[in-house]
């Protein structure tokens, strides 16, 4: 038996996470616009620019906003000076990503140097603020540890990214292939999976009414994945082939176990009603299983190059984007409701389910499925890329519209409540 501590600081104002969420879809649109300027998806500078619009501009942007809200809600410890930290993270992350994408696209060293400085500053602020909040938390939970390890992998990813971008800009001779592989594995395998897992431990049982993740899994998954990623780095750096195969095998076993356990928990949910978030999550977890299969097949040398690129594309668009869309459609209505409801029962606070109409979420699910199909088709039939580009652009518009509708409802209701 234990008595919980009172949370001594307030959760951040709703504007803090919403600014990040509102900015992120613009980078989906930018990714689509950049893709539209090229002749194929395999053009390297274009692919680098688009990848960073998606991973930094969308995925990390949403996660950075979500982190500001998750820390106080899940571990009872908000970031210090949340409003200032939000601006000092949001502005560098947006301008830095634009600069980086421009630097890749136009092979412009000045833009790449600027991106390193701006993003380095933004990440330093964000990572320091997260670490302070995690250190201050009274509770010691598996989510907290997963978030800590996610932040550590983000630190490694950002450092490697800055070294790489600086290297490209200055033309320094570096082992680009090893550094890039480490940057990708820490970014996607570490930061993205660990944060999604840490948040899923809370969001899946809370919003989808499933049983909790098994204790052995939620306490063991993040540390095991982190160790395996470090083993992978060692194997790659010192060319220890057997250790490389071992770490890759263990990594995919862990990722597959996360996907299967999540799907299994969702099949045991208490309320068996159709839910767009659940569909996004299922699509995400199925994509992760598909990536695991493709990555295993990619160990066979003749297939390596094509399947590795396809794996990364499906990981980002099929796994990460799906889960993040699903989380946004639960978190944003909840935040709007919570901030309107706080302080007691009031007449005029809308029902949480009416804040973003369910029908739009379902349209987004269908649009996302169609976009993924177009991306897969484009890997074997180039003209299909136009369908993928259109799908990505439409998703950005639909998501922006849904988010701005929620923000408008918040502002209008708050005004009515204040005037009442």
């Amino acid at each position: 038996m234990s008595t919980a501590m009172l949370s001594t600081e307030q959760a951040p104002p709703i504007t803090v996470p919403l600014r990040f969420f509102a900015m992120a879809p613009l980078f989906l649109l930018l990714a689509a616009a950049i893709l539209a300027t090229g002749n194929s998806f395999t053009d390297a500078p274009l692919l680098l620019a688009v990848t960073h619009c998606l991973t930094l501009g969308f995925i990390t942007m949403v996660m950075a906003g979500a982190m500001q809200q998750i820390l106080p809600v899940v571990i009872g410890s908000p970031m210090p000076a949340s409003k200032s930290i939000a601006w000092l993270t949001l502005l560098p992350m947006s301008t830095g990503t634009l600069s980086l994408a421009g630097g890749f696209l136009y092979s412009n060293p000045a833009l790449l140097y600027a991106a390193c400085l701006i993003l380095g500053f933004g990440f330093l602020i964000f990572i320091s603020a997260c670490l302070i909040a995690i250190y201050r938390a009274a509770a010691r939970t598996s989510t907290q540890f997963a978030l800590l390890l996610a932040i550590l992998t983000l630190t490694i990813t950002a450092t490697l990214g800055i070294i790489l971008a600086n290297g490209y800009a200055s033309g320094t001779a570096l082992d680009y292939s090893k550094l890039t592989a480490a940057h990708i594995s820490m970014g996607l395998g570490g930061w993205v999976i660990l944060l999604i897992a840490g948040v899923s431990y809370q969001v899946v049982p809370m919003f989808q009414l499933t049983p909790n993740y098994p204790g052995w899994f939620s306490s063991g998954f993040a540390p095991a994945l982190f160790v395996v990623l470090l083993l992978g780095l060692v194997a790659r750096w010192w060319d220890v082939i057997s250790l490389g195969y071992l770490s890759a095998g263990l990594f995919w076993m862990l990722a597959v176990s996360f996907a299967i356990i999540t799907l299994r928990l969702q099949s045991q949910r208490r309320r068996r009603v159709a839910d767009a978030t659940l569909s996004f999550f299922r699509l995400g977890m199925s994509s992760l299983l598909c990536v695991a299969l493709l990555s295993t097949l990619a160990l066979y040398p003749p297939l390596q190059e094509d399947l590795t690129t396809l794996s990364v594309v499906i990981f980002i668009t099929g796994f990460a984007l799906s889960v993040i869309f699903g989380m946004l459609y639960k978190i944003v209505p909840f935040l709007v409701w919570f901030h309107l409801f706080r302080g007691g029962v009031k007449k005029g606070v809308p029902n949480m389910k009416s804040i973003i109409p369910e029908v739009w979420m379902w349209r987004h699910v269908q649009l996302h499925r169609a976009t993924l199909l177009a991306i897969l088709t484009a890997s074997i039939w180039n003209p299909a890329r136009w369908l993928a580009i259109t799908g990505l652009a439409l998703q950005s518009i639909l998501l922006s519209y849904a988010l701005f509708t929620a923000i408008t409802i918040y502002q209008r209701t708050l005004k009515n409540l204040t005037n009442a």
């Binding site: 234990s2 008595t3 959760a11 571990i75 409701w337 409801f341 302080g343 007691g344 029962v345």
Partner: protein, 71 residues
């Protein structure tokens, strides 16, 4: 003491039910809530609305929260 069991309800129903129950509390009454997770955001709401609370983690993984008016 008034008892309220909100275990297994989806957000935001636990919050809504707790705040509605608090409206019915008479001066020295205490509301005892059984809930399946520790609701950190609720604590802030309670503080803002002039309530005190004490949370106990139960061995079965649930939480018991006793809420009364702050003196």
């Amino acid at each position: 003491m008034i008892a309220l069991d909100v275990r297994g309800l989806p957000p935001p129903e636990p919050f809504e039910q707790i705040m509605l129950a608090l409206e019915t509390l008479i001066k020295d009454d205490v509301l005892r809530v059984l809930i399946h997770r520790e609701p950190y955001p609720l604590y802030e709401m309670l503080r803002e609305s002039g309530y005190r609370h004490q949370t106990t983690a139960l061995p079965d993984g649930n939480f018991s929260i006793e809420i009364g008016r702050a003196s």
